[in-house]
Subunit: 403 residues, 2 copies
Amino acid sequence: MDQAKTSYERFLSTAGKSVTANAIRKLTPLITRPDIISFAAGAPSPEVFPLEELSEIAAKLIKDKGRYCLQYGPTRGNAKLLNQVGEYMQRRGIPVCGPLEMVITTGSQQGLDLAARVLLDPGDVALVELPSYVGGTIALHNSGAVLRGVRQDASGIIIEDLLETIERTRSEGRKVKCLYTIPNFQNPSGVTLAEARRRDLARAAEEYDFLIIEDDPYYELFFDDGVAGVPPLAALAPSHVIHISSFSKVLAPGLRAAWLWAPEPIASKIELMKEGADLSSSQLDMAIVSEAIESGLLQHRLPQLREFYSLRCKTMVDALKGNAREGSRWTTPRGGFFVLMEGPREFDASAFLPKAIEAGVAYVPGQPFYVDSSGANTLRLAFSKETPEVITTGIERLCKAMK
Amino acid sequence: MDQAKTSYERFLSTAGKSVTANAIRKLTPLITRPDIISFAAGAPSPEVFPLEELSEIAAKLIKDKGRYCLQYGPTRGNAKLLNQVGEYMQRRGIPVCGPLEMVITTGSQQGLDLAARVLLDPGDVALVELPSYVGGTIALHNSGAVLRGVRQDASGIIIEDLLETIERTRSEGRKVKCLYTIPNFQNPSGVTLAEARRRDLARAAEEYDFLIIEDDPYYELFFDDGVAGVPPLAALAPSHVIHISSFSKVLAPGLRAAWLWAPEPIASKIELMKEGADLSSSQLDMAIVSEAIESGLLQHRLPQLREFYSLRCKTMVDALKGNAREGSRWTTPRGGFFVLMEGPREFDASAFLPKAIEAGVAYVPGQPFYVDSSGANTLRLAFSKETPEVITTGIERLCKAMK
């Protein structure tokens, strides 16, 4: 077989880029070893999956409505679920969110991929946060985008750096096509984009005419009410935002049902692209999620989930305070699943990982999350999966090994 | 909003191509009207969905194994299901089919899309059958392929036309990159690719070094044993075939779980592309399908399904024989869901559709299935969804209206 290389194959063969996916992939056998305390996987805790309730919902749906929820269905998704997520968007302050603006996707990941495919041509410039979620950068890469990083601090994207990057791109005769952001409790940094900066970013998108891809899977998982009221970017610049959110973190990620909101002309192109991508998401998953909303199951669980993850977050941050080696720093998340730790400048989180594993603890090295290959001294620590007791032990092991 | 158009937007705005998807989309409100007998939707009959059994399977899986089958999982898919479909492929005569060659996809449609994205660059030449499945041609289009048609007769692809098209492409200094075929009971024609022609096609793929995308969703739904033993292309030219198949037609299409077999280097690229496309397919759907195989449910139903669709096919063909207007022809499928009818040369199936609807019967005009825009006088008639009595009435209505 001697096919000439396609652009995708050439992309895969450029080491610097394939590192991103592979660095995390290689961890899989380690993070599932029972003797290892794992802060690696960014997954919700299966302890909080409502198994009894979902089992009943699934059984009843298939029995009573299986002729519909096991059959082909519209590409946009289950009509009832589209209305339900439309209501969510309305409550989040987005003005127009009828069925013409909404698409159900096979997880948020598909929303990112479809948005990138519709918006970008090879060579287009897309901005991403430093650091940013690997799945988002992969989706942008797969559409051939040229990625440029924008620095963050404890309040999210630094607006001066954003404007400078936009101007630098313009001075090269190129245009920034889109910016990818996770404004709440970001993966991997745990950082939340401050309200004033959201307004500045929204204004920049309108002024420089680029689209914001707002990825907001952790929206409901806030730990203090102060952050709950901060408006999404889609409410601040509705003509310049694609908003993506998911049930993976508040119900179960194995059900691949997320949603995407976009201005109608973009949503209709995304629908057409989705038709070619997978015809529709799982009809059964969509029906189950819709019923979990209708029955109140989803809504009633939220306070308990916030408390569950908040306790784990506090436990991790406290353990870091008590044990971390001098010269280390970490973020203090107001929600979500992740703390980003920064070792001393000379620390190499990738090189150190085997020693951490030997000490019985795993994490994801931060560098793959930085498209400019910085962040070698950072570690992503997920507090979502282990119990508080185990988190304390794990951080003690990690900090001891780092000393 | 004044974004410069991306190549995808330019693609959508070229009328000749967007027609394909839209022609069928516009039918949706009609084919669901209860007073219309519909031969339009190419969907399995919900009458044969095993609702009781699947309801029990789903309930038990979530209750007992929900911590796994509602959690994130590997991109390649459920490990047990990968082994099960590997065994299928082995029984179909494919030599190497371990977990390195297999990927579970979100329906066959995703397999087509991922294959096209990995194999093709914009401007690459892809060959498709005349006519061919719209979802396949959309996936190829979405990767920017230039599509060229190869004519079929009652035995499938005409090898002389294939070779001529390849040579013509070469004489332009271009290379045929792949060929997309549905060898068994094709959608929309119902035609099966004869064994001798499969061998010729496999030889051509090796000689001219192009990949065959073999889409085989109807494999198990044969109506006579003569066709059951015909080898898949993947068994004849394993280094030059991507084989795609699905549970949609033999279990339920709302469960989005299909599979893809490819030589290992291609399968691993498809896995990486899938990671960016949707992380994984529905974990619950995969677990349900795996259990339906394990319990024997899937296998035991096959004889009954073959009989079910065979009776409907025979009923439709008999009704056409008894009622069709002179100058009409139709295919005689040996399996699957579809008959392709050809009216007299001057007949326009798209223009006629409103009259057919008025007479209480719907179909899909054949032209969107022909990438060379021929086939204006053809109609796709799906016999899969209506009962035999209703099929007879529907064909009577159609033929009367055509006279």
